[in-house]
Structures are given as C-alpha cells and as structure tokens.
C-alpha cells in the first residue's frame, strides 16, 4: 500500500505491507524507520491496540496513514530530509563529484590506435587518481578481427597503466565465433580486459528446452564456456524480449553457472544500443530467431519488471553480478543522492571510428550532442554541451512523472538510452515525444530501428499512446526493485537476519571493480 508521499509527511513516504510499516525519506539525507511489530507502531502513534490486528484491512490502513499524517515525520524516530530538495549549486557539485570519480568511453566500430589514445586522453582529463575508467569496444567483433582487437585493447591498457589508472576495465565485445589461441596469455598480461558477449540469440528463447538445445548447437555458448574455463569473467548482455521475459530468472541462473560468475546485463531489447548485431543501424532483423518464430519484440514494462523482481527473489543469484539489480541495490543502500542516471552528465562519451565524439552511446549520431572530434584536441571539444546536462537532470527529477516519485533522488531520473532514443525517434518522425532536449541542428544517422521502433509502437494505439514506452521500460522495473529491496531489508530485520540482506545489497567484492593489491 502506498499511503502518503512527499510534502504531506514532511518529505517522507509511508508504506505498509503485511502488517509492517515503513517511513522513508524521499529526499536526502536518506533515512528509514520501520516497525516490524504492528503493536509497537500503533502504540507509538497513540492508536487503539486492537487496531494492530487490523492494519491489513482497508479501514485499518486508512486510520494508520491518517495518524501518521497527523503526527508528522517529526514525531517519529526518523529524521526527515531537506537537503537536495532545491535545485542549485549542490547539483553542480554532485555532477562534478561524479565526473571526478568515473568515466566511460564507448568506441563504436574499429577505431585506430590514434583515435583510442586521443579519446582516452580527452576523457580521463580531470579524473581523480583513484577514479574508475570503463572502456568498451563495440560495433564489431573484436575476437574475429583479433589483430585489431588486440591492438585496441593493448593501446587502451598501456595508456591506462602508464597514467596509473589502476581502477579500470576494458571490455571487448564479440560474437564469439572464434576464440584466439593466445587469449589467456593476452588477458593474463592485461587483467583489466574482459570479453563481452551480446547474447542476442537468447532473446528468442521462449521455452526451457530451447536453451538446452541452444547450449548444444550454439557456437557462442560453447566458446563462452571455453573462455570461462580459461579463468576469464565474461560480461554478457542478455536482451529481454517478449519471448524470453518469463524465462529470464532461469536464463540468468543458467548463464551465471555457465560463466561461473560472469556479470550479466539485462536490458530490454530497445536499450541494446550498438550491441544489437554488434553494429549500429542493424535494425531488428538480426534478432529474428528463425523463419518459424517471427521477429522478437520488446517486452512489456510490467513483464520485464516482474522478471527482474523474480531474479531478485532468487537468493542464490548475487545481486552484484546482475544489472540493473546491482544498479538499484547500490542506490537503495546509498546515503548519497544520485546526481543523474543520465550517463552523459559528463561521465560517458561515445567515439566513432572517424574520431567523432558524442555525449553518450545512445546519443551517437545526434548532431546536437556531438562534442567534436578527437583530432581537434581539447580546444576543439564542445564540453559546454555537457555542462548543460546538470541543468537538464535537475529538471528531469522535478517534472513529469519523476516529480512525484519517491525514489527520484535515489534514481536520478531516466537514463540516456531513453532520452536520446526518444529524441532520435522524434527526429525520424516516428512519434512526438516531449521535447526534453534543447533545440539544435539535429540529425540522426546512427540509431537503430530496434530502438526507434519501440518508441513508435508505444506512441501508436496499441501502446496506449503515451509516447514513452522507453520511459516505462526504464522506470517501472527500477521502481519495483527499489520497493522490493526496501521491503527485503525490513523483512530480514524482522526475521532477525539483517546481515544477510545487507550483504546482498552491499554488493561485496565486485568482480570487476577492485583496489589493486600491494605486493
């Protein structure tokens, strides 16, 4: 039950479920108070003791919420938050802190050594010494063209090591058609390198038996086991589709077993970005499972959310290995408000083979978010485009559906895959979504059909005409997971097992992000 939110309780939200009650702040500093025992709660609120047994009934709930509202958050063992509820310098500070701590570069296509080094130099400028750098090579098969893949990865690793960027990872995406013989030696010398696999063929798996068949027949799945047996932790992108969405918990478990703890990212199909067929503009054809099945489509937001919650409820799956669950777990436990979910807030840039620099992977090809060219150096880069972003994200959590969401400060608003994909779709005349992005000379040459198609479908009569299917796909699962994880901690505390739940949410010992050992 969602009782009252926001201003009615002094920036606090009330939730009640299974006779338990939680009051949590919606703005930083984040605080939570809960009563595992309903008798204690009604006694504290001065309600009749008999009401403790009736909190599950509508009338009981109504009285409870009314009493909480009348008493106000100040009278509870809970400190309501106030900071962060006004836009201003703190947003800029958060953005700067974010930019100091983390940077990501996505190379979309075969980039030359010069482009790789030039982009890394531009991107890591201003990063704190202990900052995290993520480098991805997408848009081509790095293991099939191993000569180029090795050169790119070597250049990136050499640059990062020479500049003492110890906290980094370099992901080479591949279709795993083949595995080079010297892969073990190469990655042993460069332990920051990971092998990424976009498991688009799993988008078409609709029955449990199909996965077993696929394990026998798929070259990529055989190769991923070989890679795992070498000791590498692969990163798998498992697209959620309308066909496989019910099987996602089983597929996730099976992939975790097959990869012995490799990380798994489960985006819905439209968020696959450049990974769909490993090439931009590939359209949705590559996701066709075969002539007998028809094309794979985007899952509904509700089904996708249910699948992620089911994965969360599977206790044997470490949350830190599965995204977006790790994303939510890191934020639900955080004391610090999220600056922005929009990766392009100066943190992530995308680079095309010709050196063109864009504000995010999802923004590649959007002229308004072109930052410049690597060859132009620092002087030629329009960093001011990024400086518009804090203003944008500060607004994004204050208007539209985000403004009334309890989780807005822990979530940080929608991500770039929604904003830029919607803009791309609108530019192509596919739908009329809200104009969140400032005007500019816009054109879109790169975005794939599978992203814009989903927006178009949602804008049509079958999609409810909201024009924001991607927003729902992004927002609903995260909201559900925030709720479930909050209740998970409450129920674990009530059962006397708070440590196990906290350990799950603390995402202990991330298999990728680490502090090097001093030898």
């Amino acid at each position: 039950m969602r009782g009252l939110t926001g201003e009615a309780l002094g920036n606090a939200a009330v939730r009640a479920r299974d006779l338990r009650c939680v009051v949590a702040s919606v703005a930083p500093p984040f605080r939570t108070a809960y009563w595992p025992d309903s008798k204690a709660l009604v006694a504290q609120l001065g309600l009749p003791p008999a009401l403790a047994d009736k909190l599950g009934e509508p009338e009981g709930r109504s009285q409870l919420v009314g009493a909480l509202a009348a008493k106000g958050a100040a009278g509870l063992p809970f400190r309501a938050g106030g900071a962060g509820s006004t836009a201003g310098p703190q947003d800029v500070r958060r953005k700067e802190a974010l930019r100091r701590g983390r940077r990501s570069v996505v190379f979309l296509g075969r980039c030359s050594r010069e482009v790789v080094l030039g982009a890394l130099e531009l991107v890591t400028d201003g990063l704190a010494p202990e900052g995290l750098v993520n480098v991805k090579f997408e848009g081509w098969d790095a293991l099939e063209d191993w000569e180029t893949g090795r050169e790119c990865a070597s250049a990136a690793c050499a640059y990062l090591i020479q500049t003492r960027r110890c906290r980094c990872k370099v992901v080479l995406f591949t279709e795993l058609k083949e595995v080079p013989a010297d892969l073990w030696v190469f990655t042993y010398d460069r332990p920051r390198v990971r092998i990424g696999w976009a498991a688009t063929e799993l988008a078409a798996v609709g029955e449990p038996g199909e996965f077993a068949e696929l394990r026998e027949s798929s070259v990529a799945l055989r190769h991923i086991e070989h890679v795992v047996n070498l000791g590498l932790w692969p990163h798998i992108v498992l697209p959620a589709s309308d066909l496989n969405v019910r099987l996602l918990p089983q597929l996730t478990s099976a992939l975790l077993e097959a990869t012995r703890g490799g990380s798994i990212e489960i985006p819905p199909l439209p968020f696959l970005g450049g990974l769909g067929g490993l090439g931009h503009g590939a359209g949705s054809d590559h996701l066709s499972p075969g002539s007998n099945r028809g094309a794979v489509r985007c899952p509904s937001a509700e089904a996708y959310a249910q699948a992620l919650v089911a994965i969360y409820e599977e206790r044997r799956i470490p949350l830190r290995l599965v995204s977006p669950l790790a994303w939510v777990a890191a934020r639900v436990e955080s004391e610090v408000p999220m600056a922005s979910s929009l990766a392009a807030a100066g943190v992530e840039v995308a680079v095309l083979p010709d050196g063109e620099l864009y504000a995010a992977e999802a923004a590649a090809g959007l002229e308004s978010w072109r930052l410049g060219n690597v060859s132009e150096g620092h002087g030629g880069i329009r960093w001011e485009r990024l400086d518009l972003m804090p203003e944008f994200f500060a607004n994004s959590v204050r208007r539209g559906p985000c403004a009334s969401c309890d989780w807005r400060w822990r979530c940080g608003g929608v991500g770039g895959e929604v904003v830029f994909s919607e803009e791309a779709a609108r530019l192509q005349g596919k739908c009329d979504t809200g104009d969140l992005v400032p005007e500019g000379g816009r054109k879109c040459a790169v975005q794939g059909e599978h992203a814009t198609g989903a927006v178009e479908a949602a804008a049509g009569p079958d999609g409810g005409g909201t024009g924001s299917a991607l927003f729902d796909l992004y927002c609903e699962p995260r909201k559900r997971l925030f709720e479930e994880m909050l209740w998970g901690t409450v129920e674990a505390a009530a059962d006397g097992k708070p440590r196990q739940e906290r350990e799950r949410l603390q995402l202990r010992q991330d298999g990728i992000d680490f502090t090097p050992v001093k030898n």
Partner: protein
C-alpha cells in the same frame, strides 16, 4: 566442545558416506563464512596415493578424486572468502599424491591465476608431493606458473623404503633420488619434510646428512605421534635431535646453507614478540581444507574419518558452520590450556599443539596427549640449551636468514 566430541567413526559409518551430485558454481557462494579472512586452501585433489606410508593418517584410503567443477569452486570460494585480505593467497595441492591428478592441476592453475589477477589478487599454487611421480612435463608446468613444492621424504633409503613403501610394497627411494634434483634445480630452497617414527628415530642424524647430500638446504623432522612410542624411543629422539642441533650449529657457524626448521623457528620464537600467538596454527582461521567431495574442513588433518565429520565447516552448497569456526577464531591458548601446562618447562616456547592430534589422541580440543608433549619438550630443551646458537642469532645473521 571438548566434552562433547563423539567417538571415532566405525567402518560402517564411513561406508555410508553419500556421493554428491555434480558441483555447481553457486554452491561455492552458498558456503561462504561470515568472517572472510581465509588466505590458504589445502586442496585434496585425490585421496589416491602410489605409496603406502605406515603412519598415514588417512587410514581409510579410497580412490576418491576431485572433479573439475569442485576444484574450480574451491578456487572461486577462496577468492570470495579471502574478502579484503591483501596478502598472497595460497592453494596447496594435497592428497593422496596430488601429482596423480596432474590432468586436473593443468586445468585449474591457469584458471585460478587468471581469476585472481582479474580481482587484483595474487594467488600462489604449491604442492605437497612424495617426489615419486614427477615428470619433465610437470616440471615445465611448475616453472611456467611459478608453483612451489613441499617434499615428503623420510631420509636414508632404508628408512624411506620401510616407512614409505610403494603401494605394491616395493622401494620408493630410487624414484625419489631421481626426481629430487629436478625439484632442487628449480627451487633450491624447497623444504624436505621428514616424519620420524619409532622405527626410524635412531637414523635421524644420518637422514639429515642424507637429505643435505641430496641438496636440501631446508628440512624439518616431525615425530609421528600416532605411532606407539616407548620411553626408549623418546630417549633416542632426544639424542637424535641433539645431534641434529649440532649439525645445525656447525652449519650456522660455517655459514653453510642448512636449516632445520624446528631450531630456526623455535629460536626465533624465543626472541620475537611478534611470533607470540594464542593460536597453534592457522587451521580453521586462515587455512581451510577442501576435500575431493567438496567439503570444507579446518585443515588437511581433519576429514570425515575424524569424529564422524563433527569438524566439517560445510559441504559446498550448504551454509558455512560459523559457530564451529568461532571456536578456531576465538581459541586462546593461555585461557584454554590444560592444567598441566602450568608446570611444563616448555610452556614459554611451546606454540601449542596440533588441533587434529589433540582430537586423535585425547578426543578433546585442548589436550594433545603424552606423546606430543614429550616431543615438544625435547624440542624446547634443545632450543634453550645451545647458547652458541643464541649468540649467533644475536649477530643478526641468524637461522633462516
């Protein structure tokens, strides 16, 4: 715990041991301890052995082999269970004779090395071997991955052949003499670990000279306290250790590379406050054994043969027994020592006892039994009676340097 230890299991109880289903990756994560500071895993890759040592504590040998998934799970378990431990992690292949499973070792060493590197950890592999099954292919593999050796060898051929015969009863000393130079050429500092039985105690000095002649610079002699020791055997042990001490002293004065760990470690312990510990060893705290069935034990001396598995931490996939581990973590030799220690002349330098030998000898956790104490007192006596040794040590170039 000391009062509630169950009697040793019967043959029937051992025979009821159920085989496990195939290990899954998630099993390793289901069995993590609450306190994550484990830094060493003894990996029993097989219980099979090509020797039939007379004092072997794995008295009911069954040719149980570890499967590949369990071995990989053990590595993943260590990487997780080590938590924030920043030192070198160690995996020691044990058995049985671990080199009988070279096929498995070849697969899991690159796996473990690579996984540890990706986590920013340093994982070292070692092996305790009887040196009879070593090939050139193994040596090149060991060199490639910088792996360590620990040699189990009892001494002169007569002793070796009597105490450690081949499974069919044949001599083993020839194979050992052939393979030891390969190991020492690779790692000159490898230690020879000799077990002293009542039958071989009188050959102790000769064995030390023999091992030095083979090229070992470092050696240790441990009394097999589970054998039937008579008073005259202890006298012989004392005489043997005295001669060993003199050999060590001569080597120390003449700067020869010769180390007997009983003396080197013991003398260092007298002078060092750092070494003072309330724990006898790392068993159950930083060290854990993974047996071929994928079960976790405090060390290689524990296993299903002891107290019907009462000391089992977990089966891979089931929750870790943190209450049992707390016994090891909170163990305090000062507070928990038996009453007799108060008047023991070795109480100042004794680093206490082996947990497993306590259980073997007295069915308690805190009383190692008469044989063990007797051997420790001989060590202690010899450590403290050589002022020349101590003087050499005070020069700052002492044993083990």
């Amino acid at each position: 715990m000391s009062a509630s230890l169950a009697p040793p299991p019967t043959e029937t109880a051992m025979g009821q041991y159920e085989p496990r289903p195939k290990a899954r990756w998630s099993d390793a994560y289901a069995s993590l301890p609450a306190v994550r500071n484990v830094h060493s895993v003894d990996l029993d890759v097989t219980e099979a052995c090509n020797l039939a040592c007379i004092y072997c504590f794995k008295w009911q040998k069954k040719p149980v082999h570890m499967d590949e998934a369990t071995a990989r799970n053990a590595i993943d378990w260590l990487l997780e269970a080590s938590g924030d431990f920043s030192g070198e992690l160690k995996i020691n292949f044990m058995g049985g004779e671990p080199l009988l499973r070279f096929d498995l070792i070849q697969k899991i060493v690159p796996y473990g090395k690579c996984r540890a590197r990706q986590l920013g950890k340093n994982l070292h592999f070692g092996c305790t071997t009887n040196c009879t099954h070593l090939t050139d292919e193994m040596m090149s593999f060991w060199r490639r991955f910088g792996m360590g050796f620990h040699c189990s060898i009892d001494g002169i051929p007569e002793v070796q052949n009597a105490n450690r015969p081949m499974l069919g009863g044949g001599p083993s000393s020839g194979a050992v003499e052939k393979n030891v130079p390969k190991i020492l050429a690779y790692r000159p500092e490898v230690m020879a670990r000799a077990t002293v039985s009542p039958e071989s105690v009188r050959a102790l000095p000769d064995s030390a000279k023999y091992l030095a002649g083979l090229g070992f610079r470092s050696m240790t002699f441990k009394a097999a306290v589970n054998c039937a020791w008579k008073p005259e055997d202890f006298v012989a042990l004392r005489v043997g250790y005295e001669k060993l001490g003199e050999l060590y002293l001569d080597a120390l004065v003449s700067r020869k590379p010769f180390k007997v760990s009983e003396f080197a470690g013991g003398i260092a312990a007298i002078h060092s406050t750092d070494r003072a510990s309330r724990f006898p060893c790392g068993a159950g705290r930083g060290v854990v054994l993974v047996d071929p069935r994928g079960e976790l034990w405090p060390c290689h001396r524990f296993g299903p043969h002891q107290c019907a598995g009462e000391f089992r931490f977990a089966r891979m996939g089931s929750p870790f027994n943190d209450r049992l581990r707390a016994v090891f973590l909170q163990y305090n030799i000062v507070e928990d020592a038996k009453a007799g220690c108060a008047n023991c002349p070795a109480s100042l330098t004794c680093r206490s006892w082996c947990y497993a030998e306590c259980v073997d000898s007295t069915q308690t956790f805190y009383d190692p039994g008469k044989n063990y104490c007797q051997a420790v007192r001989i060590h202690d006596y010899l450590k403290t009676r050589h002022p020349d040794l101590l003087r050499e040590l005070a020069k700052g170039d002492g044993p083990g340097r």
